[in-house]
Amino acid sequence: MTFLATIGAFFLAFFAQTGRLSVFVGQTLAAMLRPPIYFRIIGQQIIRIGYFSLPVVALTSFFTGGALAIQIYYGGNQFNSEAIVSSIVALGITRELGPVLGGLMVAGRVSAAIAAEIGTMRVTEQIDALTTLSTDPHKYLVAPRVIAATLCMPILALIADIIGIFGGFVVGTQSFGFNAAIYVQRTINFLTVDDVTSGLIKAAVFGFIIAMMGCYNGYYSKGGAQGVGRATTNAVVSASILILAANYLMTSLLFSS
């Protein structure tokens, strides 16, 4: 009986949480469409979310591209390796690794920062103060962050694509002695626009998830510093899992046809 009760309580909590999250997302989407739109704050958030994530994303994708090249070279058919390395690195980075690893890195940085900031505002009553000053927190706090992250992630992913391919190129030409001009030519010939755009679409969705999870967990945090800490952890974990799940879903939708 207690076992059943525990399961019941778990599912009730789960559905309550899902319902609250849906309402939160709905309120945010509504806030995005209704004026006023705080362009200044969106701009500030673009710098904080996008610009300051550049080094992390660039380093991640450079090393990933390099490692991928090594794996393919030694794992594959070394006789025709030049063609295979360049094409698989390009494909793997643009379709999957650029957006997904970039998204996970940005989730670690940005979801945590957003959850900590909004969570602190919650527990110090700053969100209540916003409301009493006739300012909608969804509009003033949540919407700008979600818009900024959704705009920034595709750009970050594009940069990750370029740097990741460059990482493979460096390893290929420096370690395996590939001809640089041929490597570049093969990459360009092989890649299609769809490979890149599918990755960028994914990245936009990841950006939305990252900001949403940060805001949601921060907004509903309670219980002082410890509560904010918990919100921060939950934001990163839930953003990361949702990114991977959404990636699987989108991959099966985008590439099954």
Binding site: Q126, L130, L133, S134, T135, D136
Partner: protein, 265 residues
């Protein structure tokens, strides 16, 4: 004449904890009411219910005769617009400098330009005896008392019709307490504002109250004018205003034992 603020039978609990258990209170336009009551008795919860930050489980809260319980935020925008609030801990936005905090409503809602907003902030800060050198500081670099006074300046900056002060003088020195008491009186007398002040400080009660209400165990158990307060022989009230450990009031969560020879634990 309808009351400016009218609470009737307001209930609010958090889980098993019943904080408000049927609060009845009316405040007339231009009146300064002071709410006193023990720590944890639900004074802040009552204020937040009036502000619509917490939704009462039961009961009615009317502002200007309009029912606010169950009203969505957008539905009460015009009510919010005429309300100012000082939070117990200031609740300044720490991502914004002092002047943007003080002039927040004017900047966000009325689209006031920077020069106008800074002037407004200087005026409001002057009323709480703070100088313009504070304008560009971050709230994090203010002392506790300055933080509170900037919060006060923000609450009164837009000259609202109703102002709530949650412990405006806690953490201030006696001189500054007197300044703030006068400021609250001025808000009522010069601006014609209706104010509701929560305080533990009996000198503040005497200085600013037209009417005092004592909140105990989730209900208003006594209310009346300052003269009635002094003359009252209500045992609860006497214990509270004289700060006595012994009396009918049960302090929540602890057994009061202040007999001198009590065993040290």
């Amino acid at each position: 004449m309808t009351a400016k603020i009218a609470l009737s039978d307001v209930h609010k609990s958090f889980g098993p904890k019943d904080v408000l258990r049927g609060v009845n209170l009316e405040v007339e336009t231009g009146q300064s009411i002071v709410v006193i009551g023990g720590s944890g008795s639900g004074k802040s919860v009552m204020l937040k219910s009036i502000l619509g930050l917490l939704t009462p489980d039961k009961g009615s809260i009317k502002i200007d005769g309009r029912e606010t319980v169950g009203l969505a935020r957008r539905g009460r925008a015009d009510i919010d617009h005429q309300i100012g609030m000082l939070f117990q801990n200031g609740a300044l936005f720490d991502s914004l400098p002092v002047w943007k905090n003080v002039a927040f409503r004017a900047i966000q809602n009325d689209g006031m330009d920077e020069a106008g907003a800074r002037d407004l902030a200087v005026d409001a800060l002057k009323q709480v005896e703070l100088g313009p050198e504070l304008l560009d500081l971050s709230p994090a670099s203010l002392s506790g008392g300055m933080h509170k006074r900037v919060g006060l300046a923000r609450a009164i900056a837009s000259k609202p019709e109703i102002i709530f002060f949650d412990e405006p003088t806690t953490g201030l020195d006696p001189i500054m307490t007197d300044v703030i008491n006068h400021l609250i009186r001025d808000c009522v007398q010069e601006l014609g504002a209706t104010t509701m002040t929560i305080t533990h400080d009996m000198t503040s009660v005497r200085a600013i109250a037209d009417k005092t209400a004592l909140l105990y165990k989730g209900e208003i158990i006594w209310q009346g004018s300052t003269e009635a307060l002094e003359a009252s022989d209500d045992p609860f009230l006497n214990q509270f205003i004289n700060g006595l450990a012994h009396g009918p009031i049960e302090v929540e969560g602890q057994q009061l034992d202040t007999t001198p020879n009590a065993e040290a634990v």
